[in-house]
């Protein structure tokens, strides 16, 4: 059970960690003073707009920008011709994957072809937004419309329209030489699959499909760029990683990274969708041409049509178990729709698909497939939710067939320390079993259902979490406070969780630490805010910075007392003279003397913890009520149980768990990119329906704490794993309620109703002989 404090008094082991202080950026955010990307205003600033393709797939025969350029107030018009030329094999390595530079540039401004509706074709800068919009209407593009493909299974067929003539399927470093929309095929194999299935008493096998889903961040993409005459480019933007924007923008523009400074503004949500750049390069080129700063903000429709959602998927899974419920074999085939360019998270999906269980024999095939949709992007545990639906539905089927409690079945097979995954990795200490044990005794799981057409389902999920590079710099002020400069943009309260880890080391209150997010010129290199890594890795850097501050301050105390450092010890937040205990200085008192003690005190932590963070496991319980007349699903009660390692700020851990749960509910019931003839039909939040507080009950949470063995405070990272199991849990609850199995997300009322009617018809046919 969680040690995390419910009352804000900590967990007993630590003084600061486990408490619930008010977040440092809270007042600015609730009073509207926090500065987001769209708040950027610079002297002489111009306004940019992007012309986008109306076609899902077309060859560009020509672009005539002369009329737009002639419009009064227009200062510049650009096309792909304004980008540097690309070599065919140039690759940019980013933390989220490796991408052909040619593809990244093409996604910024299409050159020979447009690959999806919304693909950027040209950009305009003008003295105001209305003139920029008018100028777009004057740009003439001569398109040769091509037959498109926007279904992942159809795109894999040999007779599908090919998107990229130079794209051949890669298989783990080997180029097959075969032209195809299948950019890559990966395969994991463990044990003897045939033997495993041959020894199984029960075999279940089903196919599943999931829709493309938007991350649902409220703030639109934006970028303001100023390219000065000295060649220095500055970009203000909303991003999950300033250094990633710097690297992408520099590469796309053919600049050294030192020429690009990126200032991360406050971010109104990201969830993986604000890792790629969509606007900074265009704003930069326009600024260079005009000699003025240029700001571009996407409309909501642009966000939907032109930026990366999560990939839609086709997943087929086969599980074999013996009569005791022990899993003996598993096979999965996974195809992800990468969108217009390669790079879906199918590798992560292939790792996650069987990750919750100890299965001795397994085979996983994953396919990264290009098609005529926007290039997909990461979305909270990218790849895990799609595959989780399949495995966790089949686990429920096995439990039903065996008459077993579904939690007991999962406990029997739970992954634990020493379990080898199908990709070959062996788990260190992990908390899968612990989340299941907490679920089994949770009051929600034991409570009776109260009405007809109600059902309960459970599912277990996983996300691998990341480590990666982070830097923190601490500067001690003479009033005993500390300015903490960090490179991680704060999406979910990470300023607080990082400051708290710093404060814990030095015995300071969290409020004495002032965390700030630096730009690429003012803080050391730090990877993106993603992969559930910030509280883990940037928190670790804060720990190291605090240790350095402590060491320096011990030296300062020794100087103050005119003794040696080995005569000074640090004790419960105070510096104490070892042989004269009457001499004792608080952190604040010592800070007040620093002006006379030889100079400033600065501590730095720069870390690159490897990814052996063990991952985070979740289990959730969903109660639903099915309306058999309409097919509408109502969520009656929902509980998420997650291993956090150590909960630094329990409120923000719970917030992550609740946010992931609600997004998972959205995947399950409402959300999908609805396309017709290659064109998105629901590119607004009126028609693309994310759950509101009227659609979900209060999400209950249980924080399980199985500390990470290597992290200074045992942190694991909690940002993502909670999104994976809700769709399967809800699908299993629907089965429990009305006896239908749904294999496609979202489980819309029409699909639920059709399945209910089909079941009734089948039962009637059986009854009638």
């Amino acid at each position: 059970m969680s040690n995390a404090s419910k009352n804000g008094n900590g967990n007993g082991k630590y003084k600061v960690i486990g408490t619930r202080p008010i977040r440092h950026d809270g007042v600015d955010k609730v009073t509207g003073r926090a500065a987001y990307g769209i708040d950027t205003h610079l002297g002489g600033m111009l306004y940019g707009q992007i012309l986008r393709s109306p076609h899902p797939y077309a060859r560009i025969r020509g672009i005539d920008t002369s009329k737009a350029k002639a419009l009064k107030g227009v200062r510049a018009v650009i096309t792909a011709a304004d980008l540097p030329p690309s070599e065919a094999d140039e690759v940019l390595n980013l933390v989220e994957g490796s991408f052909r530079l040619k593809d990244l540039r093409s996604n910024i401004l299409a050159d020979e072809k447009v690959f999806y509706q919304g693909h950027s074709v040209a950009a305009v800068a003008a003295t105001n937004l209305h003139i920029a919009e008018e100028a777009l209407q004057l740009i003439e593009v001569d398109y040769e419309i091509l037959p498109h493909v926007d279904d992942v299974v159809a795109a894999m067929r040999d007779d599908a329209p090919l998107l990229h003539e130079d794209l051949t399927t890669k298989e783990f470093g080997e180029d097959t030489g075969k032209n195809s929309n299948i950019a890559s095929h990966i395969q994991f194999k463990l044990g003897d699959l045939e033997k495993g299935f041959a020894e199984s008493d029960i075999i279940v096998e089903e196919e599943f499909e999931t829709a493309s889903v938007h991350q649902g961040y409220i703030e639109s993409h934006n970028a303001t760029a100023e390219w000065k005459t000295d060649g220095q480019l500055t970009v203000w933007t909303s991003t999950q990683g300033a250094f990633g924007v710097q690297k992408q923008t520099a590469a796309i523009l053919g600049l050294p990274v030192s020429k690009v400074r990126v200032v991360p503004m406050e971010i109104g949500g990201g969830f993986g969708g604000k890792i790629p750049v969509y606007l900074a390069p265009q704003a930069a080129i326009l600024s260079k041409k005009c000699g003025h700063p240029v700001k571009i903000v996407m409309t909501r429709a642009d966000v939907f049509r032109s930026t990366g959602p999560t990939p839609s998927s086709y997943v087929k899974v086969k599980l074999g178990a013996d009569n005791s419920g022990k899993l003996l074999a598993a096979q999965a085939t996974i195809a992800f729709a990468a969108g217009a360019f390669p790079g879906s998270p199918v590798g992560a999906g292939a790792v996650c698909v069987l990750s919750c269980y100890a299965i001795p024999n397994g085979l996983v095939d994953g396919y990264d497939v290009v098609l005529n949709r926007p290039r997909s992007a990461a979305y909270r545990a990218p790849g895990s939710t799609q595959v989780n639906l399949a495995v966790e539905t089949l686990m429920d089927e096995i439990a039903v067939k065996l008459g077993m409690d579904p939690i007991e079945l999962r406990l029997l097979n739970a992954a634990e320390e020493g379990t080898r995954r199908v990709d070959g990795a062996v788990y260190p200490v992990v908390g899968c079993r612990e989340t299941l044990e907490q679920t089994k005794v949770h009051e929600h799981y034991l409570a009776p259902l109260s009405g007809p057409h109600q059902g309960r389902g459970v599912a277990t999920g996983f996300w691998m979490n990341a480590g990666l590079k982070s830097t923190v710099t601490a500067n001690v002020n003479e009033d005993g406070t500390v300015n903490l400069m960090e490179g991680s943009t704060d999406i979910g309260g990470s300023r607080a969780s990082i400051a708290m880890q710093f404060a814990e080391v030095l015995g300071l209150p969290a409020e004495a630490v002032n965390p700030m997010v630096g730009d690429t010129a003012s803080v050391g290199y730090t990877e993106l805010t993603g992969g559930s890594r910030v509280t883990f890795a940037t928190g670790w850097a804060a720990y190291e910075a605090a240790q350095e501050v402590k060491k320096i301050l011990i030296g300062k105390a020794a100087l103050y007392w005119e003794t040696t450092e080995d005569e000074v010890r640090f004790e419960e937040g105070d510096f104490v003279h070892s042989t004269d205990p009457e001499k004792r200085l608080t952190f604040k008192e010592l800070a007040g003397h620093l002006v006379d003690l030889g100079g400033p005190v600065v501590g730095t932590g720069a870390v690159d913890p490897n990814s052996g963070v063990g991952g985070s496991f979740t289990t959730c319980i969903a109660d639903v009520e099915v309306d058999p007349e309409t097919g509408k699903i109502k969520i009656l009660r929902f509980t998420m149980i997650q291993d956090a390692g150590t909960a630094i700020h329990p409120s923000y851990v719970e917030g992550q768990m609740q946010g992931g749960s609600v997004q998972g509910i959205g995947w399950a019931l409402n959300e999908e990119y609805f396309y017709n003839e290659g064109r998105m039909q629901n590119a607004s939040f009126l028609d693309y329906r994310i759950p509101t507080c009227l659609d979900v009950p209060m999400i209950e949470t249980v924080i399980v704490e199985v500390p990470h063995p290597d992290h200074p405070f045992g942190v694991r990272g909690v940002g993502e794993a909670s999104i994976a199991p809700p769709p399967a849990a809800i699908a299993n609850a629907i089965y429990d309620a009305v006896g239908i199995r749904l294999h496609e997300l979202p489980m819309r009322p029409d699909r639920v109703l059709a399945a209910c009617l089909a079941k009734e018809e089948a039962e009637a046919a059986t009854a009638n002989g």
């Binding site: 690759v91 390595n93 933390v95 989220e96 994957g97 490796s98 890669k170 783990f172 470093g173 080997e174 890559s184 990966i186 194999k189 463990l190 969830f271 993986g272 890792i275 790079g343 879906s344 998270p345 590798g347 992560a348 292939a350 790792v351 992007a377 990461a378 979305y379 909270r380 545990a381 990218p382 790849g383 990709d423 070959g424 990795a425 062996v426 788990y427 260190p428 691998m464 990341a466 480590g467 990666l468 590079k469 993106l528 993603g530 992969g531 890594r533 690159d608 490897n610 990814s611 052996g612 993502e720």
Partner: protein, 78 residues
Amino acid sequence: MLSLAGGREQVSVEGRTVREVIANLNRAHNGFRDRLCRDDKLKPTIAVVVDGEISSLGMRQKVSLESEVQFLPAMSGG
């Protein structure tokens, strides 16, 4: 990879670093270096895992006599 190793899921080779492991692997099973490396670096699509932890040091990553080294597709995150 399986085809290069004659269908074996695990092979044992010596080496003090990932670079030496790959060199010895290539001597025993020709073709591994080309599959995994380009210009004395791991290909960007390949990740190396040593004793359960993804290494950011690539070819320079040290390994011990008992180490388990795996080569995996590089993962994306979000």
